[in-house]
Structures are given as C-alpha cells and as structure tokens.
Symmetry: none
Subunit: 209 residues, 4 copies
Amino acid sequence: MEHQPESEAQVRPPGRPRDEAARERIRDAALQLLEEVGFANVTCDAIAQRSGTSKATIYRWWPNKAAVLIDAFVESVTPELPLRDPTTLEDYVTVHLRQFARVVAGRKGRLLAAVIAAAQNDPEVEAAFLSHWIKPRRALSRQAFQKLKDRGLMPENLDIEQVLDAMYGPLHFLLMVRHGKPTPAYAESLAALLLHGLAPRHGDAAGGR
Amino acid sequence: MEHQPESEAQVRPPGRPRDEAARERIRDAALQLLEEVGFANVTCDAIAQRSGTSKATIYRWWPNKAAVLIDAFVESVTPELPLRDPTTLEDYVTVHLRQFARVVAGRKGRLLAAVIAAAQNDPEVEAAFLSHWIKPRRALSRQAFQKLKDRGLMPENLDIEQVLDAMYGPLHFLLMVRHGKPTPAYAESLAALLLHGLAPRHGDAAGGR
Amino acid sequence: MEHQPESEAQVRPPGRPRDEAARERIRDAALQLLEEVGFANVTCDAIAQRSGTSKATIYRWWPNKAAVLIDAFVESVTPELPLRDPTTLEDYVTVHLRQFARVVAGRKGRLLAAVIAAAQNDPEVEAAFLSHWIKPRRALSRQAFQKLKDRGLMPENLDIEQVLDAMYGPLHFLLMVRHGKPTPAYAESLAALLLHGLAPRHGDAAGGR
Amino acid sequence: MEHQPESEAQVRPPGRPRDEAARERIRDAALQLLEEVGFANVTCDAIAQRSGTSKATIYRWWPNKAAVLIDAFVESVTPELPLRDPTTLEDYVTVHLRQFARVVAGRKGRLLAAVIAAAQNDPEVEAAFLSHWIKPRRALSRQAFQKLKDRGLMPENLDIEQVLDAMYGPLHFLLMVRHGKPTPAYAESLAALLLHGLAPRHGDAAGGR
DNA sequence: ATCTAATCGAGACGGTACGTCGAGTCTTCCC
DNA sequence: GGGAAGACTCGACGTACCGTCTCGATTAGAT
C-alpha cells in the first residue's frame, strides 16, 4: 500500500464549495454602496442585486447587514494601514500618525466615520467593529510598543493602551467632528507633542524646548 | 374694532398656543428611553406614549427622531462642563480631563455620541453641533490656555488647537468606540501622559521618569 | 341645555377612522388576483400594489394572506347564493341545487375550488374557510330544513347535517374532480334522486317509479 | 465478443444504475412527514434528510414536491379499496360507503385530498388523477351497478354516473372540507338516506318512514 | 485494470414571498 | 389652530422554502 500524504491535508468538506467569487462581489458591492448612499441607506437587497447574488447567500455568511459592511470596510482599509516593525519610538509614532492622517483625510476616512457613527445606534455594529477592526489592530500595535519597551526604547511604566488612545484619539476626533484638517504637517506636529509633552522641560525656558 | 396694542412686540397668533409642557415631557421621555433601551431602540411611538403626547406633536416641532435627542442634548449637557480659570497647566489639564471623563462615562456622554453620529449623515446637524457646541467651548478653552502662555506657564510654541485635540481627542475616541472605560484614574494618567510626553526624558533611565 | 341624542349612539372612537374604501379595494384586488393567477400565486405585495394600499394595512386587518382571500371570496360569492324561505322540501332542494350548480359551473366555482384546495395545505386557510363560509352557510340552511320539519314537510328522523352533505357533496365532488358537468339538468335530476332514493319503491316495478 | 441477448427487452444503460431503495425511502419519508406535520409543512429538505438521500435525488426523479406525494398516493392507496361483486343494492351501497369512509378518515384520505388539491392548479396532475384513479374506479363501479340493473335489483331509469356522484360526493365533501367525521355510522346512515330518499313515502306519517 | 458515464450524498446558490417593524404623514374629533 | 389618537404609505428587515447547481465519491459495464 502506498504512502498517504496526510500532511497537506485539509480535506475538502463534502458538498458544493463556497463561492469565493460571490463573497468578493458582495464585499465590493457593499463598499460601493457604502460610499454612494451612506451606511444607513445601504440595503441588503441592493447589495444582493449589485453583486448578482441573493439575500440568502449574504445571510448565510454574515449575521446581519452591519457585519457585511464592517467586513467590507476592514478588508478595504487594512492594506492602507500596514503595521511595520518599530525602529525607534519617534519613528514609529510619527510614521503611523502620518499614515493614519492620510486615511482620515481620504475616502476611507469617511467610511470609518460612517461605521463608527452606525455603531452608536446599533449594538451589532459596535460588536462587529470592535472585534473585527479595533481589537485586532490594537493587538498588533500593542506588540510593536512592547518590542520598543523590551529594547529599552520606551519608558516601562507607560500604559500602552493609553498611549494608543493618545495617538489615535485626536485623529478620530478630527475625523468625526471635522473642526480641522488632518494634514501631514498636523500629524507630524501631533507626534512631536505626544512625544515631548505639554509641560515645559526641566531647565527649559518657558518658550523653548 | 378695538385698538390692538402691537407694542408688546410679537402679537400672539390665533388658535391654541403651543403646549410648552408637552415639549418638555417629550424631551424628558426621550432622555429616559435613551438610557433604558439605547439610541437605536428608541422609537417615536415610545416617546409619544411615555410623554403622554402624540407622534404628530413630536413631528410638528422636530424634523425627525435624531433632532429630538440632539435638542435634549443641547439643553441638558451645557451646564455640566464649567470652565474655570486656570492656575497651572498641570492643574488645568488634569481637572478638565477628569471633568470631561465624567461626562463621557455618563448619560450625557451617550447623547454626545449620538449627536456626533447624527452629524456624519446630516450637514445641518454637523453645522449646528459645530457652531453651538464645539466652537464656543473651544474658544473658551483657548482663552484659558492663552492666559497660561501669557503667564509663562506653558511653552509659547505649542499650537493651542492641537493641544485641545490632544486633550479631548482620546476621550472622544473612548466615547465613540468604547474599547475602554473613561475612569477618573484614566483621566489623570492621560493628563500625566500628555504633560510629560512618551519619550524618555534626558538623563532618565529607560524605565523611569 | 339641549337634548343629547344618545340613541343612535356608537360614539366614534378617537383617532383617524379606518379607511373602509381601502378595505374594499384590498378585497377587490385580492379577488381579481385570485382569478388571474390562482390562490397559491397571489402575493400580499401584489394585493397591496393593485389596491394602492400597503402590506402594513393588509396585515393590520387580516392575520395572513389566506384570510384576505377567504374574506374576498365570501364577500363575492354570498350574494350569488341567496337562501330563501322554504315552501316545500322538493322545491327547496331543487332550487338550491340548481343555484349551487350554476355557481359551480362558473367563475366563482373556480374560486371555491381554489380555496378548498388551499385549505388542504394550510390549517389557517382551513380554519378561515370553515368559520367564514361553511359554518355560517350551513347554519342558515339548517334553519330552513328545521322549518320544513316543524311544518311536517320533512321526516323528523333525518339528520339535517347529513342531508346537507348529500345535497352539496356531489356538486363539490364535481367541482373538485371535474369528471362531469354541473348542468341545470344534472342539478334537477340529482334533486330527484335525493328526494326519492335509489331503492325501488314499494309496489314499484323495477324500472319505474 | 459475446452475444448480448436483446430479447430481455431494455438494454441496461451505462453508468451507475438507479437506486430503487432510495426511491422507496423517499416515498416512505414523504408519507411519514405528511402525517406528522401536514402537507404544507413537508419540505423537500426534510424528505431528503429523513430518507437519508439528497434533494438532488428527489428532483432527479420527480418534477416537484407535489409529485412525490402524488406518487406515494398512487402506490399506496389502490389496494385499500377492493371492488366486490354486488349481491343487493342495499348491500353494495352500504359496504362500499363504509369502506370508502374508512379511507377518508385515515392517512390515505389526507393523501387523496392533497392530490385533488394539487389537481386544481395543475392540469397534468388533474389528467393523471382522472385517468389513473377516477376513471378506472368508476368504470368498475359502473359495471357493478349495471349487473344490479340487469338482475332487476335497481331501477332502470337511474343514471349510474349520478348515482356514483351521490354515493361518493358526500364523503369527498367531508374529506376536503372536514366539517364532520366520516365514521362507520355516518357511512351507514348516508347509505340509508340515499337508498330511501329525503321525501316522505306515500302513506307515511311525516315523522316516520 | 483502467475508462466512461450515470447516480448519489452534501450543501451552496439565485430567487421570491413571507410577516414584522419603524419612520414619517394624514385624518378625525376635541379643546 | 394645537393636541391626542391612531390609521395610513413606504420600504427594509431577516427567515424560509423552492428548485438548480456544483462538488467528490461511488458503482457499474465497456474497453
């Protein structure tokens, strides 16, 4: 009897396999509609029609409308925010703030705002947004900061969660309230502010740093 | 026909005068329901029933459901955030962050989140929110920071607008995304973070400050 | 103070009154569609559209699709089957069989068949059909036969329920199975058969009566 | 190459042969489910699951859900209604009504009702039902009545077709409308009613026969 | 011993109707 | 004319079933 290579394994389950193309078309349609009519006005019927699928297929793979839109959003925004290995604290903070400011200023920023807004009115959106976007992104960022700590490039006593809030909070504020523009210059000077603090340094003159 | 004294400014229009008590009961009912069942599950029928009024009355005075809650917000949240004269930078930042964290954690925080969410889909809400809430509040805060600068208690080169974002952004982030709790301790340690910055101080050991 | 005529009474309840015209339009649309596409293919959306109303209104007044169609059917067929006061047994049986045969042969007969067919597949249809059509009709017919008994024009020992089955069963059989035509002649000779029975009469020759 | 005896009529086609056991299991499952949940609530998925087959197999051999149940009906109901040679008119009518009442009251009755219902919306079902069930059964019954006429045990002038309607119509009525129970007693008294007629006999008192 | 072809199980798919729910409007009577 | 009551239109929701399809696995006769 021959050797059965069970290594590569993952035997296909019986039955017709899931149509990945349809899955993709649904996400694309959701994303298009999200941009065109806004979160609240996207309907599942419209997604089904636009994607050439059916509501049944949508509801087979996503528990509700919100999940589809969040999924589409995550799939679309993730590649725009690559998480790189940190070299120094200054570099890491500056680069990521600049990156995120670019997203906030653009089309994807409006999507993010729409999703966060929708989360205020719908526990299902909130749950999906937290578990599919916020939590995984923060987990990765946390690891980066932990590496910096491990290398002695960042004070041990800082609460990383709070550092993340201090980094991303101001840009989310700008995103949702729109009282100013998230330019690259804004991102850079925000990074400087966070890195060095508000208070005058020891031995500094009041006006210098 | 008698002389109608038009001196008293606006002549009373004919017909039954508006029932101000009903208006108030509607606002109260909206706030109660918001706490009990959350924004999404507040229905206009429920507000009408709770307030002992009718949907017709609600829609006569507010254009839609969101407007009712926004109105309630504006009427109720303003007095909770007094702006005091600054003594030191540390004190000012710490006190106001604690104050705002308390609001974010409470009922009024949910209202604020709802208003910001509504602003994402409605330019009128956005404009009203900016002009009636954000701008006046920030103007007052700006004056306070300017006083600190004038007294040499704050570095001259800091952009006050950005300082305000750095202060209030993280708490708004927490308010909208709810990935953590805005406790008083959180507010205080956030204040410390902002005041002293992320980067290790000159001559500091990596782990200390 | 004037006399308040409380006699005519039935004070109108508060609120907007039910739109009887819409009710009627719904019934008409249901009836039209029933004829056009058959019981199973009538949809509530179609009824709503055809009648210029909405599904919500339909479901406010009828518990489900079947009830609408039964209601429409009853409203439409009842006037075609007037129940008259009996003069003699022979007359009553003959007249009503002729009358019902005419319905069975016509458009309304197809409706009746569709409703009975639908009742086989749906307990809700069955219940609605029994309570809105069969039971009231049989109650009225029963009264007529009871009058005949009271006047000595019909044997006391006959079970009226069974007499009704014997009268209306054969025509329903013809309606559903369509192995023959319910002509007036058929109705008359059926009446004779029922009145005089199959068995040869005492003293009759086998072939005569 | 060997000689293939084509005498045995149909040559076996290539490929896997039809699984007759599966066919039988599908029919059985359909009958079981019909009893358990009623016609409307039998789903093809349920039949497939219960029978350990798949929907594909069902739809390979039957055009739709109704056809499965009709098929099961034809296979299972025929042997339950033996047609015996008549001795007297009274005996023949009474025995066959009792026999048919038993069928109407039972599981096979529900099947018959379902088939008749399906025939209302499907000319093919109607044709199949008439040619495979109604016509052959009636032909046999007609012969029996003709024998009775030939022996002088039944009036010559009766229309045998109508006699069959009068016999089987009421029980079909009960079968489809279910406003009463087809008990043996019901069958017997129906036979008496048909044999002797409704009208009081010559010289009878009104209340007697 | 393969090769070919049809059947089988499983289950995903497009489609369509269901019955429900909320938003916002309209209609009536009462004050 | 304003207010309570409540019926109305509109349109989306999420569910269920139908009948079709696409897989891999199975089962034979044909080669």
